[in-house]
Symmetry: C2
Subunit: 133 residues, 2 copies
């Protein structure tokens, strides 16, 4: 799966987050995209998603780096479900490096031009059920 165009795209989006390039980051999202900020809290549309990323970045005092691990893509027509390891590298209160891995689920929609836009960004994957009723 290493050659799938969505891999290149997601790596570029992660670089935008790490570089605090939120204008660049928004180019990867559909206008009506939904981001799971944390379980139970959704940001809807580019404006809310941008604000959420700015707040997350500020919370980590700009020390947040995002990188991807293993990836699996399931395509169906103009829709793709992406299952992906997401590594979050941060710095803790004592200045120590801290790495967390999540298994994320993303939905992408193919545009008429053949590109892809993210419609659902759920970095929590199936762990969301830990919080569900």
């Amino acid at each position: 799966m290493s050659d799938h165009p969505l891999k290149t795209l997601i790596v570029a989006a992660d670089r935008a987050i790490s570089n605090k390039d939120f204008d660049g980051l928004m180019r990867f999202y559909a206008e009506d995209a939904t981001l799971v900020v944390r379980p139970g809290l959704h940001a809807r549309g580019k404006q809310q998603i941008r604000k959420a990323f700015e707040a997350i970045s500020a919370y980590f005092e700009n020390g947040l780096k995002v990188r991807q691990g293993k990836m699996n893509v399931i395509e169906s027509g103009d829709t793709a479900l992406v299952i992906m390891e997401t590594w979050l590298d941060t710095i803790d209160q004592n200045g120590q490096d801290l790495s967390n891995v999540r298994r994320a689920t993303y939905v992408f929609r193919k545009t008429s031009g053949g590109g892809w836009l993210c419609t659902v960004d759920n970095s929590y994957g199936t762990d969301l059920l830990d919080e569900a009723d």
Copy 2:
């Protein structure tokens, strides 16, 4: 989330599987849907998906029952990502009841009539990454 229309739909699809009503089951899928039969093996389109369910049902000697547990829906425009506990009740070689739970990921597309069709059916959820490179 118990009132989401997708819950009713998925419960009805499970009943169709349990009843071996494969004609009825196919009404829940988009024409270009993709089913993850097992990690690395995808059925594409209604014809392949129907054959896969017939084979799965025969493998379990028609003793397969499917039911759903906790559910989480993330909507974005005409797309919904569903994260759901899927219980598979079967009978083992010694005639004993056997229950397995998976955390499934489904993608649904809203039709122009306001209904929903399944485009990606991945009952393995993020466990797919256990098999990925």
